[in-house]
């Protein structure tokens, strides 16, 4: 998320988000790409960003992602396109969209070779009108949703600094299996307990967003597990939870050696592991419903928050089958059981 700076490409991003959502993708804005440099001293550098990122899981849990570069200027289309091609390659995006107010023919020619789609603002508008949108009205709605999430994240920065940093930056740049461990860890260790906790809406939006990211990490893990072995899914979920069978075995060996050296008998697996495997294994039994969990969370986050209340509408719920609702609740029960987030944060969903 871009913090407190003039965001002149915003309208294009919002339109692109509408398009991605129409295509059935779970959408996120301004994903920062980071790397570590070891020259002179260890430093983290932002390489670039993806203006709108869309990801989805198909019915058999196959993962597919889109990324777009949205530029409002009328010149330098080719240079910007070359940079975007690099970003698409670096981040492993399956399909890129280059959106700019004006795109020259040479840029279109290059993008067609790289299987990227190019849209000018007018073309994008025409496309959305074709889908039946009142574009200006929808852009206003998306604008409100965009600022609401930004505001929610910003408001939690002082309280949950590490968590906010993680979901804004590290989540998109780390290996996926680490995200599962890190989110649970950060939710367990960095929640400041107050005697009389305030459950303001910003906090709820923030934790709804974290649940959404956690569901993406879990399903990605499950997607890899189904590849590894569908007949022994529980074993492969465990393997993927540690970055693969070889990596797990290596970690266990090191752990045993440390245990021997310190004369301790500590368990390698965290206390939540068995329940996590059980939950993921249930998801794998009904892949078409579980694939919709991130969409479920996003729908509720974007459509249920008003100025001072949360109201989950039937219209939103009807877009999902009952098993998706149940799986999302399973995930929230899991998070509230093994972290220090209170159930009251998710009460609106748990009570469905």
């Amino acid at each position: 998320m871009r913090k407190g700076q003039n965001n002149k490409d915003l309208e294009l991003k919002l339109m692109c988000k509408i398009l991605f959502r129409e295509m059935g993708y779970n959408t996120h804005y301004e994903i920062k790409l980071r790397t570590k440099s070891y020259i002179d001293q260890i430093k983290t550098h932002d390489i670039s960003d993806i203006d709108v990122f869309g990801c989805t899981f198909f019915q058999d849990l196959t993962y597919h992602c889109l990324g777009s570069e949205c530029k409002s200027g009328e010149s330098n289309a080719l240079d910007e396109l070359y940079k975007f091609i690099g970003v698409v390659d670096y981040f492993g995006i399956d399909k890129g969209y280059f959106i700019k107010s004006k795109i020259h023919q040479n840029a279109r020619q290059v993008s067609s070779k790289r299987k990227l789609s190019c849209y000018t603002e007018a073309e994008l508008r025409k496309l959305l009108i074709g889908f039946g949108y009142d574009v200006d009205k929808q852009v206003k709605i998306e604008n409100a949703i965009y600022h609401r999430l930004n505001q929610a994240i910003k408001s939690q920065e002082t309280i949950y600094e590490r968590l906010v940093n993680y979901v804004c930056y590290d989540f998109w740049n780390k290996e996926n299996w680490r995200n599962v461990h890190n989110i649970i860890h950060l939710l367990s260790k960095n929640i400041q307990q107050k005697l009389f906790p305030e459950n303001d809406l910003n906090k709820k939006i923030f934790f709804f967003y974290i649940s959404e990211l956690f569901s993406i990490a879990t399903l990605k893990n499950l997607y890899m597990s189904t590849f590894e072995s569908f007949s022994d899914i529980e074993r492969s979920i465990k393997n993927q939870l540690y970055g693969g069978g070889e990596s797990l075995s290596e970690k266990q060996k090191i752990y045993d050696i440390v245990n021997q050296a310190t004369n301790q008998d500590l368990s390698f697996s965290p206390p939540w592991e068995l329940d996590y495997i059980d939950m993921s294994s249930r998801f794998s039994n009904n892949t078409s419903s579980s694939s919709r969990i991130p969409h479920f969370f996003q729908e509720l986050r974007e459509e249920s928050f008003y100025a001072n209340k949360v109201q989950i509408k039937q219209k939103s719920l009807k877009k999902f089958d009952d098993v998706t609702r149940k799986f999302a609740q399973d995930m929230l029960h899991f998070l509230t059981k093994y972290t220090t987030i209170g159930k009251e944060i998710f009460q609106d969903i748990i009570d469905l």
Partner: protein, 418 residues
């Protein structure tokens, strides 16, 4: 008198089959928790493959098939909710359940958590003594005076436990024709006179025999060569315990199991087949020359889940007994290697789950046919095996055939093969 939590859970499940048939002052007071938990385990194992039950009528119908009345089913569901195995949604007024979200875990956790729950929540001395008694009698029939001395309860409480146990078909006794001793046994586990065991009890104390049996429970299908316990050696010599033989590359080997034979023709046959399957796997685990089996549980899961075991030169002899019992087919691959293919039917699936229970808990839960009937009632239209779901998804993805493919198909149909 320390019992394993898992084992208590299994005993509660087994006792459910007797308790559910009975009612009365003592059963509804002293044994009410036992009855409710038994019903809860029975329901949990029936619904565990589902995600949501939103129409409660089929659920109560299935419970009815399991002889569980509607009110008892509701109480059982509340116990399941307390353990976090289901989430219940009630109507306004909290009178009727309108939806059940199911999160029932695997069998080991079900039995362990229920065992734990019973130990912490039970306030009835009679109920805990009955569970202990059933644990003893599931191993082998005991002399009544031994049991009385081990239970440490006044005779009026013992009489009460015995009466309830007998009325619920959990306990019974007969007078031994050899020494006129009163023998206590459980009709849940025994229906034939275990004469050989009493021959053994002439030489050894019942407590020693119980300890020896626990040794086998830890590793059902223990190879005869590895038995060092004197009681077990005598037991094998007197033919007290089911001992199965498998012959393969390293010669004839024997595998020893606990003596429970099961009740009724069906249960006996299933238990025997489960032991045959486990013996074949234990051979590969203990005596294989090439690529020993490291995890029998995973191997059996792969056999039943994936449907086959990869070709191996020792498979033909090692799994011959399983083939003779209609559990597997042996398919030749190459010159002397055989793939082991599981014969997938309801009976063999039950055999596999019994073999897995033997590995996990050292014993099997009571075979109950009404369980399968109840499961079928609950089967929703959209419940599919994971592999079926994936196949369906793939089938739904339309493949546009090119003209040349269509032409080729037409040619084949017309008989042109050039």
């Amino acid at each position: 008198m320390k019992q394993e939590k898992e084992s208590i859970g299994i005993k509660i499940h087994d006792m459910h089959h007797g308790l559910i048939q009975r009612t009365g002052a003592i059963i509804e007071t002293e044994f009410s928790l036992l009855k409710e938990l038994g019903a809860a385990i029975q329901i949990a194992t029936t619904i565990k493959d589902h995600e949501i039950i939103s129409d409660l009528n089929p659920f109560y119908a299935a419970a009815g098939e399991l002889k569980i009345q509607k009110n008892l089913a509701k109480e059982a569901l509340q116990h399941l909710e307390a353990l976090g195995f289901v989430r219940l949604r009630w109507n306004t007024g909290h009178r009727e359940i309108i939806r059940i979200d199911i999160t029932v875990p695997g069998l080991p956790k079900i039995y362990k958590d229920f065992g734990d729950f019973f130990v912490s929540e039970n306030k009835s001395k009679m109920a805990s003594k009955l569970v202990y008694l059933m644990e003893k009698l599931s191993l082998f029939p005991h002399k009544e005076r031994d049991i009385r001395s081990q239970l440490h309860v006044p005779s009026q409480i013992y009489d009460c436990i015995f009466d309830i146990g007998k009325s619920a078909s959990l306990l019974d006794s007969y007078t031994s024709p050899i020494d006129s001793e009163s023998i206590l046994y459980s009709p849940l586990y025994w229906d034939d006179n275990p004469a050989a065991i009493f021959d053994l009890l002439k030489k050894h104390k019942s407590i020693d025999l119980a300890n020896a049996l626990n040794e086998i429970k830890q590793y059902q299908g223990i190879p005869g060569d590895k038995v060092e316990n004197n009681v077990l050696l005598d037991a094998i010599a007197l033919n007290c315990f089911p001992t199965l033989s498998i012959s393969s590359t390293t010669g004839l080997k024997k595998f020893v199991f606990t003596p429970r034979l099961g009740v009724g023709r069906v249960e006996k046959a299933l238990l025997h087949k489960a032991r045959v399957l486990l013996s074949c796997v234990r051979y590969g685990e203990n005596f294989a020359r090439i690529s020993k089996i490291f995890s029998p549980e995973k191997l059996i899961n792969a056999l039943s889940g994936r449907g086959f075991l990869k070709a191996h030169s020792e498979s033909l002899k090692q799994y011959e007994s399983a083939r003779n019992h209609g559990l597997v087919k042996l398919i030749p691959i190459g010159i002397d290697r055989y793939e082991v293919h599981f014969i997938d039917n309801d009976e063999n699936k039950r055999v596999v789950s019994m073999a897995l229970e033997m590995i996990a808990f050292g014993e099997t839960s009571k075979y109950d046919n009404s369980h399968e009937v109840a499961k079928k009632i609950l089967l929703p239209d959209n419940l599919k095996h994971p592999i079926q779901t994936r196949t369906l998804v793939l089938e739904n993805e339309k493949v546009v055939r090119s003209t040349s493919t269509i032409k080729k198909v037409n040619d084949i149909l017309r008989g042109i093969d050039a």
